[in-house]
Symmetry: C2
Subunit: 407 residues, 2 copies
């Protein structure tokens, strides 16, 4: 597997475009379109929130029922959530307009929205945006980058990753982009991910690979513990790499999963590190757990702890809060067996041995915790399973971003 | 039932004392003692954290195995958590010293600690403090108030409540104090509650009443979602009211439970409103739920949502975040049936009807949300069960308090 510079246009046959449709922001692009020159198999995973945005309900149906998909239309600014039948109708209108402009079937179009909830989409603006984008689709690196920028809300950086691998003598590419940081005014964190590949792979295995991988990637990050109404990851495969179609769990499938995992992990980490107000990416590795499931619960418990996140902001080696968060995770363990190490680009330091603090240097610990990416490694010493979760620090700016009155 | 001005010395036969033992703070009291002139039945509830502080382990044993209890010794400054066998030994030493000074059995003494975890107690200072307090025990209102002050850490107000009720022609009193706000340096939130009563009641019913009541009171508050290693509620009953002993679930038991519930609810609300950095008490009532269990899960989900808490700090009627938090609670419901009302001393305003915003005034909503205590009432319109949870807003000061480096 090889990491390359690229985004959603890196795989063969994928084009992208973006435009400033004026949905809510001024002086910036706020719509993106991804298009494949040939029909794709589509897989998707969606929010588990009982309150589901209209595009989530719409895409679930398309991914399940459509034979193939060829385009995705995304807008930032308005989430089209809690908008009732009117909001669902706008998903249909968006798909219909894109289908007409691109000369494809209406059920070959997926839609996604992020932004304010409770507001209705200005559908004429979206339709005008679709007209513009359909004419400007391009397979360039720049087109992919502009699309990744157009879907940002409170994100401070655009998020793209691409990799290639070999399958049956052919080069297969997987490229993705996502957005996610928190909400824009007034609302909740929305995480959207779009991963494109030119791999030839059966629809069943495509969905299976995605469903399995999100559990180890997107589902292991947390900015604020608030699960959005709009969370969506879409994975489109158009087969243009011309590798022998992956229809069973062979070596090519394993390589595809590895590439998908890399792309998903990297963009998930970018989201965590770019969490609202964050100054640091906070990685928590739990090793020596009894099972992977327990390791995941333990690592997520630490990464979601407000007290631990505030300590990371303060560059404070506050091991008690980490031990506490492990303790209330719901997983049984012997506290007197736990070891804890902090790690970053500045070095590594052991803090706890057998549940009790060792004689470490607070200054050295603070130096290590002052990097933009820090890792806590907790060894439960009760098995061989491990898992990693990613989050960010809790800062004044998180409160500021989310307390400011809607204007 | 009648609310009276009082704390732990309000019930007959209970005395209190406090002192500045110099455990960690300067120029303030940091130890408290509660003593009953006659033996008490004791009940207790303790943290569910796998990592349990030494006094939690110690008290569990005493509450379960001792025939009677007569004193409680509490210190602030050091939590005696993650301190191994040495820390557990200090619980024994504390009890032994108090027993000698008070001339009671060693297993008639309960201990509690709150503060920094990972540090060992300066046992000589505690022993000196016990000597002083044993001589200064008093049944005055002021002694109870000073004891409530001595157990504070980052608390900004002391927390006491007392009520009386009639049983069998006798006046029974229930009086309590607690501490809880967040942590002191470097560590986690510790919630300690001490409720005294002169009721005559069997040990079994005393524990049953307490265990049932904490589920609706202390367990329904959240400041930051971090369950401490030290959480403890102790309930002592010395029978000096001379009411006919409550040995079955009769009308007197019902009245006792009502009084206990009032005391626990009020001090729990004080803790939530005095959460670290908080500027407002945030109450969430869920009504019209299918079951009480579901109503509790729904209300706690909202009260724990960082996004909602930040919005409350901003006086922002951000209904989308509340609907979102209800949605990810794990309870199934129809979002299109939900109604939402905000309420405070400044008035009441309906925000959502059938899952969609009504045409309300943002200015009026902000006015209502600018009070020091605000309530959100969510009607799920799917049953008759209800529950209330209490929390606070998320503020810059919460981050400041918890990010500041340990000094």
């Amino acid at each position: 597997m090889k990491v390359i510079d690229g985004g959603v246009t890196a795989p063969k046959g994928f084009l992208a475009a973006s435009t400033a449709a004026g949905i809510k922001y001024k002086d910036r692009s706020d719509m993106a379109m991804i298009y494949s020159t040939v029909p794709c198999k589509a897989a998707g995973t969606f929010t588990t929130n009982v309150v589901k945005a209209a595009p989530v309900l719409y895409d679930k149906k398309i991914v399940t029922e459509s034979k193939s998909v060829q385009a995705v239309v995304v807008n930032a600014g308005i989430a089209n959530a809690c908008t009732g039948a009117e909001g669902f109708g706008y998903c249909e209108d968006t798909a219909k307009k894109a289908a007409a402009e691109l000369n494809i079937a209406e059920d070959a179009v997926l839609v996604a929205s992020t932004g304010v909830i409770g507001m209705q989409l200005p559908i004429q603006k979206l339709e005008s945006g679709i007209e513009v984008m359909a004419k400007e689709l391009s397979d360039t690196r720049e087109a992919a980058h502009q699309a990744a920028c157009a879907i940002m809300t409170t994100d401070t950086i655009s998020k793209e990753v691409a990799v290639t691998f070999e399958a049956g003598g052919k080069t297969v590419t997987v490229g993705g982009m996502c957005k996610g940081s928190g909400m824009i005014h007034p609302n909740m964190c929305t995480m959207l991910g779009f991963v494109m590949t030119d791999a030839a792979i059966s629809k069943e295995l495509l969905q299976e690979a995605l469903s399995a991988d999100v559990c180890d990637t997107y589902n292991m990050i947390s900015v604020d513990g608030d699960t959005s109404t709009n969370d969506t990851v879409l994975l489109l495969a158009n087969g243009m790499a011309e590798n022998p179609e992956i229809t069973e769990k062979n070596e090519d499938y394993r390589k595809f999963c590895e590439a998908l995992n890399y792309v998903n992990t990297e963009i998930a980490k970018m989201m965590a590190g770019d969490g609202e107000g964050a100054t640091a990416l906070f990685e928590v590795k739990v090793i020596g757990a009894k099972s992977k499931e327990e390791a995941k619960i333990l690592s997520k418990s630490v990464v979601c702890s407000s007290l631990t996140k505030a300590a990371i902001y303060g560059h404070d080696a506050n091991w008690g809060r980490i031990l506490c968060a492990l303790g209330y995770s719901g997983v049984e363990f012997d506290p007197e067996k736990v070891d804890l190490v902090f790690e970053s680009a500045a070095g590594s330091i052991q803090i706890i041995k057998n549940g009790i603090a060792v004689d470490y240097s607070e200054e050295e610990a603070t130096r290590i915790l002052s990097e933009p990416a820090v890792t806590a490694i907790a060894n439960m010493n009760q098995g061989n399973a491990e898992a990693t979760a990613w989050g960010c620090d809790l800062t004044y700016d998180y409160v500021k971003i989310n307390a400011d009155y809607r204007s």
